[in-house]
């Protein structure tokens, strides 16, 4: 096939690709533009929403940080997501180590038991969960949020990590044990370093899920100083605001960490989310 013909043939592909790229990117661009506008520029005429901002009003971002307390929300979200991720990785890798590396007969049952967790719709648990949290006086507590998110993200992490650990050759363990290596060193010094790819996938997934979650925030957080980022923007929209620019600014603030993580670990995020979805 000559080159010109090949180019001509791929033209429809480019057109299709461009159309969907515009559809996915334009709403984000619109939000960025609006985050620099004042009400007039957003609403004054029927087409003003489509226009570029006339000047960059960074004061909208200042407003978002001060009036909507976005900085504190961002901090809360990052702290809760970060600690949940660490705890999930620690606990899940420990379970996975036992399931994948120590040959007990009961291991398969444990794995199936944890697999059930990925199939359970979260909403089924809400009413009893609220009862449990209230009876423990666990409202508005970092520790409670981290523990809850950890419990709910364990199953998928265990599945991903166990799958990877099973693939590591068994002769590793044998020679290590002959050299007098105990179980904890076997886990920490030998198996864990070899499991890094699965750990990073599971870690990114957990962080994403926890950061993006709204439901547990709505149910278990009522104190303003404890708001997570999703709860923060939702209440900001619901409050009687007169300026819309800062709302758009807070949306942008909330998505920036996710965009950064995605651009840094692109392949990991794509593959991890797909694998996570398929396993679940």
């Amino acid at each position: 096939m000559n080159k010109k013909l090949a180019k001509l043939k791929s033209l429809p592909v480019y057109i299709l690709a461009s159309i969907w790229a515009v559809i996915t990117l334009y709403p984000i661009l619109f939000t960025i533009f609006s985050s620099f506008k004042n009400n007039d520029e957003i609403f004054s005429s029927s087409t003003s929403a489509l226009m570029l901002p006339t000047s960059l009003r960074f004061e909208n971002y200042v407003d978002a940080f001060t009036k909507a307390n976005m900085l504190k929300c961002l901090f809360n979200s990052v702290v809760i997501s970060g600690f949940s991720t660490l705890l999930v990785l620690l606990l899940a890798s420990m379970v996975s180590f036992v399931i994948a590396r120590l040959s007990y007969k009961i291991n398969n049952i444990i794995l199936i038991y944890f697999t059930l967790g990925v199939m359970i719709p979260i909403h089924t648990t809400l009413v009893p969960l609220l009862k449990i949290v209230n009876s423990l006086h666990g409202q508005n507590s970092y520790v409670m949020m981290v523990i809850l998110y950890t419990a709910f993200n364990l199953p998928i992490a265990i599945l991903l990590i166990t799958g990877h650990m099973k693939g590591i050759t068994k002769s590793m363990d044998e020679s290590a044990i002959i050299d007098g290596c105990g179980p904890i060193r076997l886990y920490g010094n030998i198996i864990m370093p070899l499991t890094m790819p699965a750990l990073s996938t599971a870690g990114i997934l957990t962080f994403l899920f926890v950061y993006n979650d709204l439901l547990f925030g709505v149910l278990f957080i009522s104190k303003k100083s404890m708001y997570t980022i999703t709860l923060g923007i939702l209440t900001f929209v619901g409050s009687k605001v007169t300026e819309y620019g800062p709302i758009f600014a807070s949306i942008i603030i909330s998505i920036i960490p996710m965009v950064i993580i995605y651009l840094m670990f692109q392949e990991k995020v794509e593959g991890g989310l797909a694998a996570g979805a398929v396993k679940g």
Binding site: T24, L126, A151, L154, I255, Y262
Partner: protein, 296 residues
Amino acid sequence: MIKRRWNFHLVAILFVLPALLLYTILLINPVIQSVRMSFFSWNGIAQSPLVYVGLENFKELIQNGEFWRALANVGKFLVVGFLLQMPLSFILSLIITSKIKAIKFFKTAFFIPVILPVTAISIMWTFILWPTGGVINSIMQTLGMQGLIQDWLGDPHIVSITIPLINMWIAAGLNMIVFSAGIVSIPEELYEAAEIDGATGFKKIWKITIPLLKETIKIYCVLCVTGCLKVFDIVYVMTSGGPNGASDVPATLLYYSAFKYQKYGFASSIGTVILVLGLVVSLLINKFVNNDDLNK
């Protein structure tokens, strides 16, 4: 084989126990409680007792028009999921596995909605869909298509389609990756052989790609059905199930029954139905799927 020593047994128990306890107490236990509670009536006050009501909650559920409407709305998510989102995701996966330039840019653009907080996306789209001054209606206005201007989230007949479409905007990128994992696993030689036999673009896709993606398509079915049953955030943020319950889905109905109307028994029965439907569907489809395309 590893020689069993007492320290291995001890470590095994200590390693499994923390996760097992957390998971059992906070996930499995609530599920069991929830199923049990769907046979009781309870007002949410810790001191007041649970009253056994047998199948009353489920009876109410069946006689309750709202629940059927919520299921019908899940049906609309499914219709969009299969008629629009599946072909779209497939086409996107063909694009990102093709040999055009700027693949990386397109892939990133297509995938980005997947990673954003649904709350942020929902608020963003609420503004875009605003009846006056919103982007969509402004575009219609500018293009002279006034007939297509709608109250996208306020019209009870339209809202239950608008939200599944936004959901598709979010989910298409993820399903694109699922499909493309299937596509790249098809050996290149098959296409070369087909080319020698004179097969062209569409024919190759129709005769080779799609038949060989059978397993991936099954995976998509599970993802789509279980995903649609679990929809919550997007409806909660965009419309709170409104106007007047027109966009309610089972999860929002459960949420409002419990935490707004304090009908905890009734809410639990919704939870039980979602649970059973979800399990049955994934077990049914999983029975026919036994490959691990994406286990990397």
